[in-house]
Amino acid sequence: MHSAKNPRLPDPLKQPPVWAATCFTCTLLLMMGLFTASLKAQDKNPFSADPKAAKLGESQFRANCAFCHGLGARGGGRGPDLTRARKRRGNSDADLFRTINEGVPGTAMPQNGATQQGVGMTEEEIWQVISYIRSVERKADATAIGNAAHGKEIFNGTAGCSTCHMIQGKGGRIGPDLSATGATRSTDYIVESLRSPSRRLAQGISEAMKEFSQEYETVKVETADGQKFIGVVLNEDHFTFQMMDTREQIHLFEKDKLRSFEKSRESLMPVYDQKTLSDKDLQDVVAYLLAVGAQ
């Protein structure tokens, strides 16, 4: 993390050239010009007309962004698909710059340079990354093929999704809150999560300095007095773990005080195959999640 005292990003446009000191009037005029230019730089990508910028931006993207957003910016397990025309945190150049530079509070998207594991980007490099994103993003997002209203019915009804997942404050607690999923995950990821929920477990709590997030692992325990619980791990260290059972009760355990403790990467979420959720109904559920995400 960088502190306000040490801003990471110098603005080369704000440095007056040395020769300007020779002419006070010139300096004044020039400074006014630069002031306007740097304001514009905050609004609009200064490299938008430069074809080389996207190529340079791709290098930066690979080094700094692809870890979560995937090669080609198509989204990964952690980060949203950035080839979408509509970005959750705003579509303008200024919005993208702010999102990259300042991160998104409360999410895994860090401030520029704050991951502590790699190199941060200069202002110029951030604009190049924006050029790259513009070069791969779609002109407009395809309209969802499914029927969102029907998807909502399935979500809350026959498929029973809302038993475990919350959307906008309503629903169960044992699975991840899905209010933002439609905006932050690729359709492929959502489909995979339904068809093969154990292939990539959802990520849970991320701690500030911890490299890897907790995942939604399944846990079965038996306490010393013979009580049995099954649920998901909320967090775990070598000595303790915190879980939520299928009745949404939170339990706090010391591992060495348990009769048994068994973790599994087989998700508690049922597999929604063709029999339980037809392709058409699946499309409707995806359409519902996308519609919620777009709100």
Binding site: M1, H2, S3, N6, P7, R8, L9, P10, L56, E58, S59, Q60, R62, A63, N64, A66, F67, G70, L71, G76, G113, A114, Q116, Q117, G118, V119, G120, M121, T122, E125, R199, R200, E207, A208, M209, K210, E211, F212, E215, E236, D237, H238, F239, R265
Partner: protein, 521 residues
């Protein structure tokens, strides 16, 4: 415990740290006089008041907060009751080691455009006479007055705008202050410097990449040597018997792209034996030739003597544990201590060599260990009592990708990206106790996820380490059984140390923004 040394010094006027005291650090186990505790780099404390029989009673004694964010990597020094530590953004401080109260605090005014890789970190200081020495993120070396924190001299090592920084704790040998540079992510040309402790004047510089006409220069293609990396960002060790200082180097640049720098790329990923008076190279041993996986060899080269065998032990980021004859640089053997897929064969002298198909590709190639390595800069420890080598192991594979990238001075120069692989199992870690005679595992303590904590061993039959989940842990050195732990509230990114004051032993570790000390009630 060594009772003779625990009570003496405090009542007297504090003696200055002399070169002889640094050589004789074993005689004053109450003090921690250099980054790794001694010149051998063992990170072993001869104090035994805290031991296997009472470690379960350990309690926090005091905490000092820097209030700085990011990784807190310091190993403090303790000299005659005063603790000297460093923090993020080139903070430095001297504390009353008994009470944790600051005596002075320093923070360098850093330029806004410094761009150190991997956090605005610092790992600690060195001390000699009335000065402590600090390397800075803008690639200067500072001498601070040990009593006031005032800057006594300020030497510019190199222009930070080209991607150089200094993050390691300097090493004092005789009257020289030795440092190496960070910057393997920027296409620098690495070096190790020695400065006169009294004046800050540079005595010598050893470039870790040979220039035209020097041996090894032909291990670089074209002009790639000029921006070939090979930083030296972890503190070295020193052997008085042969007057040799051992330093290690990091990756060639760009880290994950071998195209354009064909050859072995000397002396990247190497162990260097240097004359500390002149900086002349005596011999080298290269761990990873023509590295394309960011396998820096920047792990403290630990000196161990076994009868008449004089060895360097290193558990390398590339996943092999190397035992090297430190009189000549010859490899005795190399054994994997973690999962390795980049190499499946050895040359005639037993040196592991890379598989042809282990290189990064455009779409990505899964290789173990991953980009953070099987271990990294976190210190190992060697305990002369158990004769075991303790090292933090990280079981993480990554998908290495490579793409052409033009070099621009001061800009990141990886030529690559890497991703966590898609394995169904999450990455784990372990503290591993290795028998250096065989390279075989004696025991391991499993971490739920990989950690960046180093290891301290003590004469009390203990090893201390931290985990990514925030625990600071004491284990029995012989068996790896956990005896005590304390939840510090943030992942540990430092290597612990131990000291004593008023006859009471403490163990200290930097975690989050807090320096914690623990002792018996």
């Amino acid at each position: 415990m060594a009772p003779l040394v625990l009570c003496g010094r405090l009542s007297n006027a504090r003696a200055q740290v002399t070169p002889q005291r640094l050589l004789d650090s074993a005689k004053e186990p109450q003090n921690w006089l250099m980054y790794s505790g001694d010149y051998a780099g063992r990170r072993f404390s001869a104090l035994d008041q805290i031991n296997a029989s009472n470690a379960a009673m350990l309690v926090p004694k005091w905490a000092y907060q820097t209030m700085a964010g990011g990784k807190f990597e310091t190993t403090p020094l303790v000299v005659d009751g005063i603790l000297y530590g460093t923090g993020q953004d080139n903070r430095a401080f001297a504390l009353d080691a008994r009470a944790g109260r600051p005596i002075w605090q320093y923070q360098r005014a850093l330029a806004a455009d410094i761009r150190p890789c991997c956090g605005r970190v610092n790992r600690g200081m060195a001390i000699l006479g009335d000065k402590v020495f600090l390397g800075t993120l803008d690639a200067h070396v500072l001498a601070l007055d040990a009593k006031t924190g005032s800057v006594v001299w300020d030497a510019t090592a190199v222009d930070y705008r080209k991607g150089y920084s200094i993050t390691l704790a300097p090493l004092v040998i005789k009257n020289l202050v030795l440092v190496g540079v960070s910057g393997g992510e920027y296409g620098i040309r690495g070096f190790i410097d020695a400065y006169h402790a009294a004046t800050g004047e540079r005595k010598w510089r050893f470039y870790t990449i040979p220039g035209p006409g020097e041996p090894g220069h032909d291990s670089w293609e074209g002009d790639s040597w000029k921006i070939g990396g090979a930083p030296a960002w972890i503190t070295g060790t020193y052997d008085l018997a042969t007057n040799t200082t051992f330093w290690t180097t990091g990756n060639p640049s760009p880290s994950n792209r071998g195209e354009g720098r064909s050859g072995d790329n000397l002396y990247s990923d190497s162990l260097l034996a240097l004359d500390p008076d002149t900086g002349k190279l005596k011999w080298y041993f290269q761990f990873s030739k023509h590295d394309e996986h960011d396998y820096d060899a920047t792990q403290v080269p630990v000196m161990v003597d076994q009868g008449d065998r004089h060895l360097i032990l290193q558990a390398n980021r590339n996943g092999f544990f190397y035992v090297i004859d430190r009189t000549n640089g010859k490899l005795e053997f190399a054994n994997p201590f973690a999962k390795v897929t980049w190499s499946d064969s050895k040359d005639t002298s037993g040196v592991p060599i890379a598989r042809k198909d282990a290189s990064p590709t455009l779409e990505g190639n899964r290789v173990c260990p991953g980009a953070a390595g099987a271990t990294n800069w976190m210190s190992p420890a060697y305990d002369p009592q158990t004769q075991l080598f303790y090292v933090t192991a990280r079981e993480q594979c990554d998908v290495f990708s490579t793409a052409p990238q033009p070099y621009e001075a001061g800009h990141a120069y990886y030529g690559s990206a890497y991703f966590p692989n898609d394995d169904a199992v999450p990455f784990t870690g372990a503290l591993r106790a290795i028998d250096p005679n065989t390279g075989k595992l004696k025991w391991e303590w499993k971490h739920p996820s990989p950690t960046w904590s180093g290891v301290l061993s003590t004469a009390g039959g203990l090893v201390f380490t931290g985990d990514a989940e925030g625990n600071f842990i004491a284990l029995e050195a012989a068996s790896g059984k956990a005896l005590w732990h304390f939840q510090c509230g943030a992942s540990v990114y430092s290597s612990p140390m131990s000291f004593a004051i008023d006859g009471k032993q403490y163990v200290a570790v930097a975690v989050g923004s807090t320096l914690f000390t623990f002792g018996l009630p």
